[in-house]
Amino acid sequence: MALLEVHDLTVSYPTRAGDLPAVRGVSFDLDPGETLGLAGESGCGKSTMASAVLRLLPQGTRTSGSVLLEGEDVLAMRPGRLRAVRWTEAAIVFQGAMHALNPVRRVGAQIAEAIQLHDRVSDQATAIRVGELLEQVGLPARQAASYPHELSGGQRQRVMIAMALACSPRLLIADEPTTALDVMVQAQVLALLEDLRRELGLALLLITHNLSVLASTCERIAVMYAGRIVEEGPAAKVFEAPAHPYTKALADAFPTIGDRASRRHPHGLGGDPPDPRDLPSGCEFHPRCPVSVPVCPTLDVELWPAGPGRRAACVHVSDRQPEAVTGGAPTEVAP
């Protein structure tokens, strides 16, 4: 049984000008111990979706569909059960996590808070567990006595991960965990997540706009645009031979160093992400799409098969041909 099953999830924020659809019919599965990367930029709905999994959305948000965590629908749970499930079955490391720490409390106390909210554990046992968690994320146990401002960005991120692991969840959702970090610290954090996954059998849902990070860390990738998934499949395939033009744009945005094609030739995508209140007709991507055809504004796109284990919401794959949009893997420069 899949650990997480999302069926046709729709989330809208009510505003004075009507409902703002942030997530529009998203479905995916995650098995225990599996890693799924969710790629997308600001405004595509990925953070909303991450919050929806634990029903952490603001008051008044309208949701429909189902989010099955170990078979139970999170959206239909009673508040008591929901509080018990939160953090013990699935935990989130939020975007900008480094600012999510309370600056006037020691980090050990904050991790302890997560533990004590769920279990009646003695203070001594809690302290031991906090020490264990810190060691698990690569920090010395005595850092529990530090205040957040005494720690560096990378260390704070590790504290957030330790906090997320406090109740031994089976699913960890990481929303842009490395975006504000340096490349070396980013590599350390990703390596840590990989180690944790192996040691604890965690399932990992990694959300970021950097497709190459996902390609090197995750088994599968799903790409979101305008509240919907527009492509999904095995990570390496999606990255090297994208089926959807938006995926290709994301992949090209961060160049492969050594690839002649991107030397003095940055690849960008014109236009801006669509306004959720005013989405283009048909395929939402068509105004910015370099390969759009006349039928795109009128076509109701859905995820069509695009190869073994792959799907893409693009008219160019709908005739069931597993072709990449343009070209193949980037050529390398011989060092």
């Binding site: 930029e41 600001s42 560096s152 960005g153 990378g154 260390q155 340096d182 490349v183 070396m184 610290v185 980013q186 590599a187 350390q188 390596a191 706009h209 950097n210 497709l211 190459s212 990070v213 390609a215 090197s216 860390t217 938006y246 744009a249 994301l250 090209d252 945005a253 961060f254 160049p255 492969t256 160093i257 050594g258 991107s262 030397r263 003095r264 030739h265 940055p266 690849h267 960008g268 995508l269 014109g270 801006d272 992400p273 390398e332 420069v333 060092p335």
Partner: protein, 359 residues
């Protein structure tokens, strides 16, 4: 707007640097009774030639931001000097004013860089008004906006920053810089807070400005991929010093300094190097290690390569000399010097062997 500067041709390539940094030190004073000063920039030589893009790369805390701000005169150096067209830039707001027309800043966060109460027109015109630039202000503003890709420019005059997207805001910031027709742009992380798909657009814009207007650009970034995308030369900084410098292809294809190699190896997009994840983080600028400042984290020292080459003692105890203004590929590393020396010796001996007859 006609280009008032010549586009880069072979003739400009031979000219001297338009911007030079010589032996720059920026130390931030010790807090009362709290010990050592923070040596943010600890001896840097750098040059930028007309029509070229130089990338200054490094992690946070390496001093690249402080270096950029000293170049702009926003931070006073403790020692050393910044030369523009061969002459030292002044100190103090009025002395720096003429210099500021020539060198402009593009900040990291376009949202913060624009006063939310000022319209796009006012933000772009601000520089013109400060310097009392003659000419039709409206036309100058429209030209600058058009140059940075916001077309038709007049449509954007009245918008406020919160009505624009991140990419558009960054273009407004760039337009504000271009309005003064500078010769150099200093861009501090120009795309790191923008979405992935917008990144390429802004970088292409910067490349276009160099091509069309003959600008030079100094880009400060932590993203080596950005250097690959647009930079002619790359300088890598660590803890206040430049540890490696050279043409971008050379540095990224065959990094000489162990730090550069490690940094490159962990980038997900890099395929040709095995990942070397360094432990810990760069030390505080108040506690710069003795000897080579990188030696506590150096994988070459830890793995014994340095010992095998006989330089490990120097790595631990001898300070590495500052990389002087050089443009060939160079690294501030004892091991590299040794390897280069041994390679030269090997070539000499091979040549000698050839001279004696075929092998």
């Amino acid at each position: 707007m006609t280009a008032t500067q010549p586009s880069p041709t072979a003739s400009t390539a031979g000219q001297g640097p338009i911007l030079e940094v010589r032996d720059l030190h920026v130390h931030f004073g010790a807090r009362r009774g709290r010990g050592a000063a923070a040596r943010a920039v600890d001896g840097v030589d750098l040059e930028v030639r007309p029509g070229e893009i130089v990338a200054l790369a490094g992690e946070s805390g390496c001093g690249k931001t402080t270096l950029a701000r000293s170049i702009l005169g926003l931070v006073q150096p403790t020692k050393g000097e910044v030369l523009y067209q061969g002459k030292p830039i002044g100190r103090g707001t009025s002395a720096l004013k003429p210099y500021r027309r020539e060198v402009q800043l593009i900040l990291q966060d376009p949202t913060g860089a624009l006063n939310p109460r000022q319209s796009v027109y006012e933000s772009v015109a601000e520089g013109l008004r400060i310097h009392g630039v003659k000419g039709d202000e409206e036309t100058l503003v429209a030209d600058a906006l058009a140059r940075s890709g916001l077309r038709p420019p007049r449509r954007f005059f009245l918008n406020y920053p919160h009505e624009l997207s991140g990419g558009q805001r960054q273009r407004v910031v760039i337009a504000g810089a271009l309005a003064l027709q500078p010769s150099i742009l200093v861009a501090d992380e120009p795309v790191s807070s923008l979405d992935a798909s917008v990144r390429g657009e802004i970088l292409a814009l910067l490349l276009g400005l160099v091509r069309d207007l003959g600008l030079s650009i100094l880009v400060v970034t932590h993203d080596l991929g950005l250097a690959w995308n647009i930079a002619d030369r790359l300088a890598v900084m660590y803890l206040g010093r430049i540890v490696e410098q050279g043409p971008t292809e050379a540095v990224l294809a065959a990094p000489l300094h162990p730090y550069t190699r490690a940094l490159l190896s962990v980038i997900p997009e890099v395929r040709h190097l095995e990942a070397q994840i360094l432990t810990g983080e760069p030390p505080d600028p108040t506690r710069v290690p003795g000897g080579c400042r990188f030696h506590p984290r150096c994988p070459a020292l830890a793995s014994g390569d340095a010992a095998r080459a006989g330089v490990d003692d120097r790595c631990r105890n001898q300070a590495v000399p500052i990389l002087r203004g050089v443009t060939e590929h160079h690294a501030a590393c004892f091991l590299t010097d040794e390897s280069v020396k041994k390679e030269a010796e090997r070539r000499q001996s091979t040549r000698g062997a050839h001279a004696e007859g075929p092998q």
